[in-house]
């Protein structure tokens, strides 16, 4: 059984950096335009604590059930690297924001609490872009607040690693402290298998990457064991492109960071006011919301779980469920909408960006309403949804134009019956397994309806109608 622990770094979406007033909104900016003397480490500049980063850290600690550390201190972690403007990083060490929390994940058939050892704040280094024979430095990221979340070695499979990261991300999003931008969440993993040493895998930058990296690393270690050798204690680098982990130069791991307290930042005392304000900033969390969805809306646990997995989706669902029957809304959103979005590799956010969030809510509500009111069939509903997503038109417009109302549906069904009656032989061919025969039948329906009935719809109708005879 593998043993896995994670160290996750998440950028906090404070307005300004951890120790200076520079804006953190640098993702589309030119290199080195979001910098000042403090985050460039110029001589004489001093760090000043960003209160809101601390508040965010406290919120996360509370949400993960951590014990908040009342007296916190920043340290200097000393090492030379060009992405560190001061050649030391200001980070919490002995006295972090929170300790001893947990996140519950799905593990096999049941659930398991993965321990969170500590949650601490630190400054992000800059970014290095390696070119063929030189390296470019961009310090826009330098000093952005990072929250490091360190787990106990409580995970046992790559899937669990992925699940943990997903849960953590959802929680951070629920707390409003995290924005899933490029590189905003990064992880290192500690992996070992029975009878082997612990290997640290660095540079994991997505959930999927985590699963791949862990899978690769576990297989590698198992293969070594099979061959009679054993994984050695080392640090390896995960290459996202090839999905492979490679050893890092030993020099990079033998660091003595010479930690000592940062003299320019006084001890932080978390008083009741700060803790209280942070507690107020902790909203209903995914697990609580899932429970409420089941109770309040009467939806199935599976639906509740899927709906609350992302905050954006849960919010969307609640807006739809406000106007229509919640169970019908849940099953349409989970079983239809998510599937169609997924098929199009479209995120909910991207859809909102395209048509506007309010419109999206309105349209989804409309489809569920028409379905519930018996105005359209399940089959037409799917058709409508596809057009709504592909063409950005309202459900009413699609229904109207295509004559997909129940009335229209009756017409279509009548038309299909007529074609079946007139081409019995072809129908028999189809039923006996000649798939091409269906094309002819569909063609007949499309022609007869003068294109009002789409080939897809006709084909669905035949499927449904002939299912019994098959």
């Amino acid at each position: 059984m593998p043993v896995i622990g994670l160290e996750v770094h998440a950028q906090l979406r404070t307005d300004s950096k951890l120790f200076c007033g520079c804006s953190t909104d640098y993702h589309d900016a030119e290199p080195n335009t979001h910098t000042c003397e403090v985050c460039l480490g110029m001589p004489g500049a001093l760090p000043v604590m960003n209160e809101s980063a601390l508040d965010f850290g406290l919120r996360v600690s509370l949400a993960l059930g951590c014990e908040v550390v009342e007296e916190q201190l920043f340290y200097r972690k000393n090492y030379f690297y060009p992405d560190l403007p001061k050649n030391f990083q200001i980070t919490q060490y002995e006295f972090p924001v929170g300790v001893d929390g947990s996140i519950t994940i799905q593990a096999g058939d049941g659930e398991r609490a993965v321990g969170v050892r500590r949650v601490h704040l630190e400054e992000d280094p800059g970014r290095i872009v390696h070119m063929r024979n030189r390296s470019l430095l961009d310090y826009n990221r330098s000093g952005v607040p990072l929250l490091e979340i360190v787990t106990e070695p409580d995970m046992e499979s790559p899937e669990e690693g992925r699940e943990f990261l997903q849960r953590l991300r959802t929680t951070l999003e629920y707390l409003g402290v995290f924005e899933p931008l490029d590189g905003a969440m990064r992880a290192d993993a500690n992996v070992s298998i029975e009878g082997g040493s612990r290997v640290e895998v660095k540079n994991i930058s997505s959930h999927r990457g985590a699963e791949r990296a862990l899978r690769y690393e576990i297989t590698r270690q198992r293969n070594m064991l099979k061959r009679g050798s054993e994984a050695v204690l080392e640090t390896r680098h995960f290459d996202e492109e090839t999905g492979v982990t490679r050893p890092m130069r030993t020099k990079e791991e033998e660091a003595d960071y010479r930690y000592f307290p940062e003299p320019n930042l006084p001890l932080i005392r978390v008083d009741e006011g700060m803790a209280g304000a942070a507690a107020e900033g902790v909203p209903e969390l995914p697990d609580q919301r899932r429970e409420r969805f089941r109770e309040e809306y009467g939806v199935t646990d599976e639906h509740a779980k899927r709906l609350t997995a992302e905050k954006e989706l849960a919010d969307f669902y609640e807006d739809v469920a406000e106007a229509v029957e919640p169970r019908a809304a849940a099953s349409h959103v989970v079983d239809e909408l998510l599937g169609e979005l997924n098929y199009r590799e479209l995120s909910l956010d991207e859809w909102f960006e395209g048509v506007g969030r309010e419109t999206a809510v309105e349209w989804e509500t409309e489809i569920v309403e028409m379905l519930r009111g018996g105005e359209i069939t399940d089959v037409s509903a799917t058709d409508v949804l596809r057009d709504v997503l592909d063409e950005g038109r309202s459900p009413a417009a699609v229904v109207d134009e295509k004559g997909l109302t129940m009335e229209g549906a009756d017409e279509a069904l009548k038309c299909v019956e007529e074609v079946i009656g007139e081409h019995r032989e072809t129908v028999e061919d189809y039923l006996s397994g000649k798939e091409e025969a269906l094309n002819f039948l569909v063609g007949q329906v499309v022609r007869r309806s003068r294109g009002k009935i789409s080939p897809r719809e006709a084909s669905d109708l035949f499927d449904e109608r002939l299912e019994e005879e098959k």
Binding site: P43, L46, P82, K86, L265
Partner: protein
């Protein structure tokens, strides 16, 4: 005329800021003692308003000045022009002063003689064959030579008081946190502070009044802006004379300091001998802490972003090593190496943490003493000024001569050095509890009056 009187004349329109600046620039350009590393020939005259109306001020090269080269006496910062003014420099300008130039100092303030500067030693205006003390020797000498009445220094373990003693001027190390360190290029953050250096106690108080105030950019800044106007002591005070420090000093120093004590006694004050525990450990504790912090603070000078070495090529660690190897002086390298060692795994318990403990004990000892006396008195320097080159040959002797000044830095309390006798290179050091600057300045003024 004191700076205070001169500023007064400027405010009345009797004196012209540009004339004052011209005179100061003339002296700074001639600079017979190598006080200045940079003279701001483009400086505009000061304002005709403010506490320091029209006053030319010399600023130690460890304090940043926007657009004016700032090197802290090091080759590694040659050509570096800060993009911001230090808080205290902002304050100078707001109070009508103008910065004439940057004064010489030991490289990264690491030295007690201003000889480790990459820009050559500063000489003592009292006797050019002697050092002016350090590390703020350029500021002390600029005041002693009469180029300016007001100068800023910085004091990590005595760097303001030591040159004040050696150049027979007044130097104050304020309470840690009274003045913002924003823009003070760090040697050892937890110990150091900016400090005024002047010819008289009155001007020292004036300069301190001008540069004070709480600065949100320095989280350790705790001071309030305040006007200090020392007049001497109206009431008798209890002065504890730290006998061990007096007794351990050179004869000339001992004599001068004892004379000053008698004068205070004669003036009705209660001078008594006190024992101070832990003095054996102050120098080692100080150097362990200072060098540890320095090893981290000086890591940023790697040639990548500013200063020396932008054209070096190679792997980053090779470039860093070359730039640092070529551009740091020996004393700086020595302190970085020792500090790195003191913080290393397996050694930090023996050195860094032990030094922190010693620091706590010294602070407690001061508390105990200040429950018995109002002020403590000692020599500022246990020796008279070294001859040029003498201290470089024997760094340990130089380190040990900091025994009187480092306790105040370890404890964060204020300390002032005032000449035992006008024109003599012996300083009397007075120390008081945290934020007792008002009393300290009055007492220093009293020494001036009764000596």
């Amino acid at each position: 005329m004191s700076a205070r009187e001169q500023a007064e004349s400027v405010r009345w329109g009797a004196e012209d800021p540009s004339g004052l600046l011209e005179a100061a620039l003339e002296g700074a350009r001639a600079d017979d003692f190598n006080c200045f590393v940079t003279v701001d020939t483009d400086a505009s005259p000061g304002d005709d308003d403010g506490l320091l109306a029209g006053q030319p001020v010399a600023v130690k090269d460890s304090i940043t000045t926007e657009g004016l080269e700032t090197t802290v006496g090091s080759k590694i910062l040659k050509g570096y022009e800060p993009v911001f003014d230090a808080y205290v420099v902002e304050r100078l300008r707001e109070e009508g002063a103008t910065v004439v130039g940057k004064t010489n100092c030991d490289e990264f303030c690491m030295g007690s003689t201003t000889e480790t500067s990459a820009f050559g030693p500063t000489r003592n205006p009292l006797d050019p064959s002697l050092v002016p003390g350090g590390s703020s020797g350029g500021s002390g000498a600029a005041v002693a030579a009469g180029h300016v009445d007001l100068a800023l220094g910085s004091d990590t373990g005595g760097s303001v008081r030591n040159p004040a003693a050696f150049t027979s001027t007044v130097g104050l190390k304020p309470t840690y946190g009274l003045l913002s360190r924003y823009g003070l290029i760090p040697y050892a953050d937890s110990l150091e502070t900016v400090g005024p250096m002047t010819r008289t106690v009155e001007d020292c108080a004036l300069l301190l009044s001008a540069i004070g105030g709480r600065d949100p950019r320095d989280s350790t800044s705790r001071g309030e802006r305040k006007r200090y106007e020392p007049t001497g002591l109206d009431e008798p005070v209890r002065v504890g004379v730290i006998e061990e420090l007096v007794e351990g000093s050179d004869d000339g120093v001992k004599r001068e300091v004892r004379d000053a004590v008698s004068s205070l006694d004669d003036a009705g004050h209660d001078a008594e001998t006190v024992e101070m525990e832990g003095l054996d450990h102050v120098v080692s504790a100080y150097y362990v802490l200072a060098m540890s912090e320095a090893s981290s603070n000086l890591a940023r000078y790697d040639g990548v972003r500013y200063g020396a070495g932008p054209n070096e090529r190679g792997r980053y660690d090779e470039v860093f090593a070359k730039v640092r190897g070529d551009n740091f002086g020996d004393e700086v390298k020595r302190r970085i190496m020792l500090g790195t060692y003191a913080l290393s795994e397996g050694y930090s318990d023996r050195y860094y943490r032990k030094a922190l403990l010693a620091r706590r004990l010294i602070a407690d000892e001061f508390d105990r003493l200040f429950s018995k006396v109002d002020l403590l008195l000692s020599p500022t320097m246990p020796v008279e000024p070294f001859r040029l080159g003498e201290a470089l040959e024997d760094p340990l002797r130089m380190y040990l001569s900091d025994v009187c000044t480092v306790p105040a830095n370890l404890a964060g309390i204020p300390a002032i050095s005032v000449p035992a006798e006008e024109g003599e290179a012996v300083g009397v050091q007075l120390m008081g509890p945290e934020f007792s600057e008002e009393l300290l300045l009055d007492a220093a003024r009293e020494v001036e009056l009764v000596r």
